[in-house]
C-alpha cells in the first residue's frame, strides 16, 4: 500500500496537468500579495488607500486586512471553480491510467484491486488539496510577511480557522469521492470532463427552477455542495457542526464504497 501511494505520487508530480494546476495558483498568489502590498503602501498608482476593503461572503464589509480574511477570501469556495479543478485532475490523473493500460498492468502484477483503488483515491485527494491549498497558503504566508499585521492571535480566531478548515476539508474530500465514482463509471477523460460539466449545468438550472420545493432546497442545504461554503459562517451551533460532519462523512462513504465495488467488478480493457 505504501509503495502504491509512492508510485501514484510519483506519477502525480510528473504529470503536466498537475504541474500546471500547481504553478498557476502559486505564481498568481505571489503576484496578488505583492500587488496588494504595494497598493497599500501607495507605491503603485492604484490608490486604494483607506477605502480598501473586501466584501465577505456574509455581506459584511471587512475594513481591515488580516490573516483570517486573507485566508478566508482565497480558499476556493466557489463551486464551479472547484468542480472544474476536480474534474480536470480526475480526467488526467485517473482516466489516463485506464486508457494507457497502467491500471491493467498494475492488476496483472498481482496488486489487489482494493489497494489500487485506495492508493489512487488517496493521492487524487492529496493532489487536489495541494492544488487548492497552495493559493490561500501562499497569500496568507506572504501577507503575514509583507503586511505587518498587528498581533491578533486570539484563541477564538485560531479556533475559527481550525474548525472551518477541517470542515472544509471534509466536504472537499466528499466531493472528490463523487468524482472518483464518476471516473470509475466513465473511464475516458473526455467523457469525464464533458459529462460532469453538463451534469453540473443541468443540476444548477434544475435547482434554480425547483428551489421553491422545500424538499429540494432542504436537500441542497445539507448537501456537501452547500456545506462546503457554509462552514465558513462566523458562528456555527454545535448542532450545525454535527449535521455538517454527518453530511460529509455519509457522502464520502457512500460514493467511495460504490466506486470501490464498481472497480472490483470492472472488466479492465
Amino acid at each position: 500500500m505504501g509503495n502504491l501511494i509512492k508510485s501514484e505520487f510519483y506519477k502525480l508530480t510528473r504529470s503536466g496537468v498537475f504541474r500546471f494546476l500547481f504553478t498557476v495558483p502559486f505564481i498568481s498568489a505571489i503576484i496578488l500579495s505583492l500587488i496588494l502590498n504595494l497598493s497599500i503602501k501607495d507605491t503603485l498608482s492604484f490608490n486604494l488607500g483607506n477605502e480598501f476593503s473586501f466584501i465577505s461572503d456574509s455581506g459584511e464589509i471587512e475594513r481591515s486586512l488580516n490573516q483570517i480574511t486573507l485566508f478566508k477570501l482565497t480558499v476556493i469556495k466557489n463551486l464551479p471553480t472547484l468542480i472544474l479543478i476536480m474534474c480536470i485532475l480526475a480526467a488526467f490523473f485517473i482516466s489516463n491510467d485506464f486508457t494507457t493500460g497502467v491500471i491493467r498492468n498494475t492488476i496483472l502484477s498481482g496488486t489487489s484491486r482494493t489497494h489500487i483503488f485506495y492508493g489512487k483515491l488517496a493521492v487524487y485527494i492529496l493532489g487536489l488539496i495541494i492544488i487548492t491549498g497552495i493559493f490561500p497558503l501562499v497569500v496568507t504566508v506572504m501577507g503575514t510577511m509583507l503586511f505587518d499585521f498587528e498581533g491578533e492571535s486570539h484563541y477564538s480566531i485560531f479556533l475559527y480557522i481550525g474548525r472551518s478548515t477541517l470542515l472544509y476539508l471534509l466536504h472537499f474530500i466528499a466531493i472528490s469521492s463523487i468524482f472518483m465514482l464518476v471516473t470509475m463509471i466513465l473511464e475516458d477523460s473526455g467523457k469525464v470532463i464533458s459529462m460532469t460539466l453538463l451534469a453540473f449545468l443541468l443540476l444548477t438550472v434544475g435547482y434554480k427552477s425547483l428551489d421553491h420545493i422545500p424538499l429540494v432546497s432542504t436537500f441542497y442545504e445539507y448537501s456537501v455542495f452547500n456545506q462546503i461554503s457554509f462552514v465558513f459562517t462566523k458562528r456555527l451551533t454545535p448542532g450545525e457542526i454535527l449535521v455538517s460532519i454527518i453530511s460529509g462523512i455519509t457522502t464520502f462513504i457512500i460514493f467511495t464504497f460504490t466506486a470501490k465495488v464498481l472497480f472490483q467488478k470492472k472488466e479492465i480493457k
Partner: protein, 305 residues
Amino acid sequence: MSKNILRTINLYKKYSDDYVLNNINISIKEGDIYGLIGLNGAGKSSLIRLITGLTAPTNGSIELFDGKSQNLSIRKRMGAIVESPALIPSMTASENLEVHRLVKGIPGKESIKHKLSLVGLKDTKRKKVKQFSLGMKQRLGLALALLGDPELLILDEPTNGLDPVGVIEFRELIKKLNRERGITILISSHMLSELSQLANRFGILHKGRLVEEISIKELNEKCKQHLLIKVDNVNRAATILENELKTNEFEVKHDGTIKLYALLDEVRQVSQSLTNNGLIIEQMTPMGKDLESYFTSIVGSSNNG
C-alpha cells in the same frame, strides 16, 4: 524437473451467450516457450486475459507455478504485455519503469538501468515515450514486464505492427531471455510460421477450442517433407539407397522405418529399385507439408467438423 508453470483445467469463458473459450486444457512446463496460435477471434486474447487475472473464468480453474498457492501475490512472479504495452506517454522510459518499480516494491534503481540496456533502450535518456517508435514502445513494454525478474512472461501478439527487422530483433531477445535467464514464456500470434522459429511447444486455438497441442519436434516431423518407407530388410534397403539411388539423405528410425528426404518426385523409381533387389515394400508414403498449410489443415478440418 519438469514442473508445470501454468496449467488450465477445463477452462470456460462465456460472454453473453457465446462461449469464447470452450474447455481449454493447456500446460506449460518450466523453460518452455509456448506459442499460442489462432486466427483473430479464436480466443487467444481471452485466454491470456483469464491467465493474467484481468477477467474471471465462467468455469474451470488456472494453476500457476505448480498450483502450490492460489493467492494473488503469486502473480508477482509473472510479467505480461497484454494487447498494447501500458505506457505513460508523457514520461521518459526510465520514469515509466520507476512507476512500476515503486508499485512492485523492487529494491534498487539499478534494476531500471539493467532492464533498459537489456531491451536496448538505454540511450533514450530524456526522450518522452510519445516520441518513441512502435518498436521502441514494444521494447519498453517488455522492459516493464521484465521488471522484477518474472519466472513466467506472457506476451500477447508482441510483434504486431513491427517491421521485419524489429520482429527478428524481438525474437532474438525472447530467445535470449529464455536461454540465459530460464524464463518460461507464453506468446500468442495469429501466424504459426512466425512462432515456428521461436517456440518449442504450440497450442492451436480455433473458435474457442484447443484443437492441437504439439511440440516443435513433432511439428517438424510432420512438416518435413519425406517419403516414409517400410521394408522387410532395412539394412539392404540402406545399401540400395546409397548405391543405386545415390543418396545419403535418409534416416533410419528407431522402429526400423526409413525417412527419405530426397527423390520425393521419383517415388516410382525408388520403389522399383527396392523391389528389383527382392525387397518387399510394406509401406511407402509421402509425408509432410509446409507450416501454413499444416495450420490451415488443422483449423480447416475442425471448421467442418
